[in-house]
């Protein structure tokens, strides 16, 4: 017979063992979870595009908000990269290689008034930074297109055979340094050109696709407004498509595809594109025609009619022969 103290001690020992074991399991699970989370990167940025038009000298502060949606603290390096549109016409950014232009010495990202080159953001945290531009009087009149990049720094140690993945996110800045606007009364000149306004000329039914390509002939980016009006054979406007306003960089072409969603169409139509490259300049206008004819429905109807006529004629022929021979 063991003394009661022995049983009590045994209970306490077992109780402690279970508690310790449970804690060990929980710690192990925590470590596993954090390992999984550590391998995830998620960033957000606002706004995605900033358009700035200035007449030097000028000082500008504009906010950029960067967010860390992940579970780990991230360190992001801040970089400026000039870009152009390359050969594409859809607004893709193509980074320029080589040394950054001197103007970047006058552009900086600030946090609480201090210029920063990198930023540390805790999990689920966001920071609103300031993009500061200090454009001197003698800055050449030109456009500058650049991205402000926030790129993560993967500091995981190199071990085994592995790839370290870094992620980054960008906001694009379109900076236009303009001269003194022309005097009031000066004749406005066109700064754009419709390079292409097209659609297939023959349709069976809607919707009708349109391709619009606009060239910016000026030295500064533009964001034209445009609409397509569709008229029927009687000259009545029966539809209108508003084009999404897009930025067109200086001396480049931007292409847009759009759809007129109308489906029940028949006959000839005229589509007129009206583009306003700027608030002051003349509008650009171009018209095209297209024809909608439901071939398949027509063929089925025609085939049915012919078949009916053939059957009818054959019946009459047979009836005539029958009557001829019976009489």
């Amino acid at each position: 017979m063991k003394p009661p103290i022995y049983r009590t001690l045994k209970k306490i020992t077992f109780f402690l063992a279970v508690s310790f074991f449970s804690l060990l399991i929980s710690q192990y699970l925590n470590i596993s979870i954090s390992k999984v989370n550590a391998a995830h990167l998620s960033l957000g940025i606002y706004p995605p595009i900033i358009q700035i038009q200035i007449e030097p000298p000028a000082n500008i502060d504009t906010p950029i908000t960067i967010e860390n949606h992940g579970q780990e603290t991230v360190t992001l390096e801040i970089l400026f990269k000039p870009f152009n549109s390359g050969k594409g016409e859809s607004g893709e950014v193509v980074y320029e290689s080589g040394k950054n232009p001197l103007i970047f010495e006058n552009i900086m990202v600030r946090e609480d008034g201090k210029t920063i080159k990198e930023i540390v953001i805790s999990p689920k945290q966001s920071k609103t930074l300031t993009l500061h531009l200090d454009i001197p009087t003698d800055e050449p009149l030109s456009d500058y297109y650049f991205s402000v990049l926030f790129v993560s720094d993967n500091k995981l140690e190199e071990r085994l055979n592995q790839l370290k993945i870094q992620g980054g996110i960008a906001t694009n800045v379109l900076l236009s340094i303009k001269g003194i606007p022309p005097l009031i009364g000066a004749k406005p000149t066109s700064i754009g050109k419709i390079v292409e306004f097209s659609s297939p000329s023959l349709f069976e039914k809607g919707p009708v696709p349109f391709t619009v390509r606009i060239k910016n002939q000026s030295n500064h980016f533009i964001k034209p407004q445009g609409t397509i009006s569709i008229k029927n054979i009687f000259g009545k406007t029966i539809g209108q498509v508003k084009l999404s306003p897009v930025n067109i960089l200086a001396d480049t072409i931007r292409s847009q595809e759009t759809l007129w969603q109308e489906t029940f169409l028949f006959g000839p139509y005229t589509a007129t594109l009206i583009i306003n490259p700027s608030d002051k300049g003349p509008s650009l206008i171009k018209s095209i025609s297209f024809f909608v004819f439901p071939f398949r429905v027509f063929l089925i109807l025609a085939g049915t009619m012919i078949a009916i006529l053939l059957v009818k004629n054959r019946f009459l022929l047979v009836l005539s022969i029958y009557l001829l021979f019976t009489n």
């Binding site: 209970k11 109780f15 402690l16 063992a17 279970v18 508690s19 929980s26 925590n30 391998a39 995830h40 998620s42 957000g44 940025i45 606002y46 706004p47 995605p48 900033i50 358009q51 700035i52 038009q53 200035i54 000298p57 000028a58 000082n59 502060d61 504009t62 906010p63 908000t65 967010e67 949606h69 992940g70 870009f83 607004g91 893709e92 980074y95 999990p123 689920k124 945290q125 966001s126 609103t128 297109y145 991205s147 790129v151 995981l156 071990r159 085994l160 055979n161 592995q162 790839l163 370290k164 993945i165 870094q166 992620g167 980054g168 996110i169 960008a170 906001t171 999404s244 897009v246 960089l249």
Partner: protein
């Protein structure tokens, strides 16, 4: 038996109590809760741009308003472990890239590697060398960071990737055939980063999967091979 049962439940209760009030657990929860609260009350563009001097205008692509959703980019895994490499046994690993709230004009993701998969820690017996696994040129010897080609032959060695659409169809051309791979643009060779995905239409979420493939020859030096791949999500202008 009864003793064991009682002790077990008492132990579990104790664990629950300890777990509930342990400082580390509560700190994590509270910390995360705090940040989520901050995020919930976040004014993503709280101030109108401050314009001074001769600024003619500053505009943001989306209207400046409270609770605007930011353009977001996520990478599911930031460490791809190939484990042990075995000659003529290709190893594939993958991760997912997701873009949310893209602007109306679309977006692109560009990618590059800092160098070829290079020996980072030579093993005993191997000279501390500049050993590396070259970027694949695929079975026909012609694929590059620009063009893709089939890579199925286990005797074709190297490192490459392919892109598959998970949500949306944003992978760039060249991967419609499941056997097709490409190289990453190599920064050390002054190659410019290349697009892996792009879109000119908008959607709430887009996801692509990047599959990394590595295959080594019998003559590949024993070492740990690694490099860094960088993906950047860029809104179209």
């Amino acid at each position: 038996m009864r003793l064991l049962g009682n002790s077990f439940f008492i132990g579990l209760f104790a664990y629950w109590v300890i777990g509930l009030f342990s400082p580390s657990a509560s700190a994590q929860t509270m910390s995360n809760d705090n940040y989520i609260l901050q995020l919930d009350h976040l004014n993503t563009a709280p101030n109108k741009p401050k314009v001074k001097d001769n600024a003619l205008g500053v505009k943001t692509e989306q209207p400046v308003k409270e609770h605007s959703e930011p353009f977001s980019f996520s990478i599911s895994e930031t460490l791809i472990d190939f484990s042990t490499l075995s000659p003529t046994n290709p190893i594939k690993r993958s991760n997912k890239l997701t873009v949310s709230n893209e602007p109306a004009s679309g977006y692109s993701i560009i990618a590059s590697e800092d160098k070829e998969l290079s020996a980072s820690a030579p093993l005993r017996g191997a000279s501390p060398s500049s050993a590396f696994i070259p970027d694949t040129t695929c079975d026909n010897g012609l694929c590059s960071e620009v063009s893709s080609a089939a890579w199925t032959n286990p005797l074709t060695y190297g490192f490459g990737y392919r892109c598959d659409n998970i949500v949306g169809s944003d992978c760039v051309n060249g991967f419609s055939d499941l056997k097709y791979y490409k190289q990453f643009a190599n920064n050390s060779l002054s190659e410019t980063p290349k697009m892996v995905a792009m879109a000119t239409n908008t959607a709430k979420n887009k996801t692509i999967q990047i599959t990394y493939k590595v295959n080594i020859s019998l003559s590949q030096q024993f070492a740990f091979y690694s490099n860094t791949i960088t993906y950047i999500a860029i809104p179209n202008f």
